[in-house]
Symmetry: C2
Subunit: 260 residues, 2 copies
């Protein structure tokens, strides 16, 4: 698949022809979480991401008023190329919408953050099973007892996603994901959920309960819900994000993200 | 050496008892470049560093008005614990001073950036010679033909430092320095200086000319002079830096910096 094909997909999204989550769309190209904020919050948020790289890996930033991500999509437009947006005011979800032409001003700063879709494909390509994909469920996610390093108005716990991995493949899964510093990187923990303050794996805070099989170890990766929780807690007067699962598709190939 | 000893050294610096460059002071502890700016420039500068990690690796940031770096020195004071400061206004050096109590306001944001002192010690410890240290000279530095990715008001060429390395040790030197993402990391180039637009190794733009010996390859690392050039070009109304060689000594051990 070529960058041109990615641009065609984004054009279809802008025309309202794609109304599903983006999982599986544009295989080989990195998908990104989206956070768009008024500029007065931009330094604090960028610093929060820098201080908490595993849950909040920055792929690209559009400066104040800029609509095209310089690296991730120089021909893209952050106002129309995400299939579904969420608009929050003072921490409360106000609406979901298919474009933000009316909400994006010259003062907005857009952030693209890495997402675990990137490393899941690499796991599958290397024979490491990814249970929630097999079962067509959402990955289970848990709020941990580890606090992020705060920055300005942003703070909160680290959220992790969990994938059950056969014991013999844990090291391989760790090595594969460690390559993707900009997509959550290596696991933060493998084994006893209690170490992260997680009481019951079958009661995730977000997503669907896991199916653990004999000989499997629960492996935990930092998760992109972490910055979302920090945003909800900080209650900025306005923040626009992608709707869960409706990501921005970048021009960056997964294999290139691994190098960066 | 303990963190307490580092605090004692900083106390001596604050009392004006240390009036030399900090090279060799507090061995095993990371030294950092210092940039202190009014908050209106902080987002652009942090973004510039993030977009140009090799020349501008961020070790720590003090938020607006904060004088203690949260990770690098929670008991330190950026106003008094650098042995010599430089104060620039609109890109012009106004003065050198031993403290900045009268210039630091509640609006200032302080950045600590990684420095090659960190990896030079590791090179020496592993039998890789570092010529300019042997000769007690300054490392040669060159302005390259590679432009940094700009961010807001900040832009400029990448500056590199050069160390002549015996051909058989280039790979080893590369592997050692690659561990230090927050201290310029792996070389950006080894071999023909022309690739970086450098015409004559004997005419560095900064520092002293090198002494190349038979069988040695010139190896180039991204250099902390890069952000200084970007600052000079941007001409912010005020910026305070360390004086060259008079660094901030952090509480972070070099071996821990390698992990981060």
């Amino acid at each position: 698949m070529s960058v041109n094909a990615v641009q065609d997909i984004r054009a279809a999204i802008a025309r309202g022809e794609w109304r599903k989550p983006t999982s599986g769309l544009a295989p080989g190209f990195t998908q990104a979480n989206v956070v768009i904020l008024p500029s007065k919050y931009a330094f604090d948020f960028l610093l929060f991401c820098g201080r908490n790289e595993k849950p909040c890996p920055v792929i690209d930033v559009c400066e104040r008023g800029v609509t095209a991500p310089p690296t991730a999509g120089p021909d893209a437009d952050m106002r129309i190329h995400v299939p579904r947006y969420r608009i929050y005011r003072h921490g409360v979800l106000e609406q979901e919408t298919e474009h933000i032409r009316d909400h994006f001003t010259d003062d907005m700063v857009s952030f693209l953050l890495g997402c675990s879709f990137t490393f899941e494909q690499d796991l599958l390509d290397n024979g490491v099973p990814v249970r929630h994909i097999e079962l067509d469920r959402n990955v289970p996610m848990y709020i941990t007892n580890r606090e992020c390093r705060p920055a300005g108005i942003f703070s909160g716990p680290m959220v992790v996603s969990m994938r059950p991995i056969p014991a013999a493949l844990v090291e391989k899964a760790s090595a594969i994901t460690a390559k993707y510093r900009r997509a959550h990187g290596a696991p933060v923990h493998a084994g006893d959920p209690g170490v992260l303050g997680i009481g019951d794996l079958q009661k995730p805070d977000f997503g669907d309960p896991p199916e653990m099989r004999a000989g499997e170890i629960p492996v935990f990766w930092a998760c992109g819900v972490t910055p979302q929780m920090a945003l909800k807690r900080a209650k900025p007067d306005l923040v626009i994000t992608h709707a869960p699962g409706y990501m921005f598709i970048t021009d960056i190939r997964d294999k290139d993200l691994a190098q960066s």
